[in-house]
Symmetry: C2
Subunit: 92 residues, 2 copies
């Protein structure tokens, strides 16, 4: 893999995102980043937990980073929290 | 502080939890843990981001830990994701 892979978690059912993460590792990714903003943050954590506990045997939890992003909306600027959860293949 | 402090985030407005975190630091806490489960995880991240960005000048983000907890409900056992966000006074 030349490039790290990212799965953006939104409002679809959580298993859609779990499948996306698992597929990326099966395709040879060394690291997958699960990203989400706002209310989807809970689903991003669910995605990581389900992928690790049920599907990925050789993958470890990496860093978890939270931040605040400024978004332009019709009603002005607003702040929204975001999360990035890194999963890493440990190659054993 | 002899003991670390914990703020459990639930379904109340986010500023309730921000106030709880800020109060614990103002009372001398070295470290505060923000914990949440399920859908409240997003609000826990909001709590940490708002507390750090708007109110706490001498506090750093520490580790963020996610896990899966098994909960007994009336309809049987179910898994729920949880998060723990640590904030630390850096004493400068």
């Amino acid at each position: 893999m030349l490039k790290d892979n990212t799965v953006f978690v939104g409002n679809k059912p959580v298993m859609n995102y779990v499948l996306a993460v698992v597929t990326q590792f099966n395709n040879g990714a060394d690291e997958v980043a699960i990203k989400a903003r706002g209310k989807a943050i809970s689903r991003a954590v669910d995605t990581a937990e389900i992928a690790l506990n049920r599907f990925l045997e050789h993958v470890d939890k990496g860093d978890i980073i939270t931040s605040t992003e400024v978004i332009d909306t019709d009603s002005g600027r607003t702040n929204v929290s975001s999360i990035e959860i890194l999963l890493r293949n440990r190659h054993d």
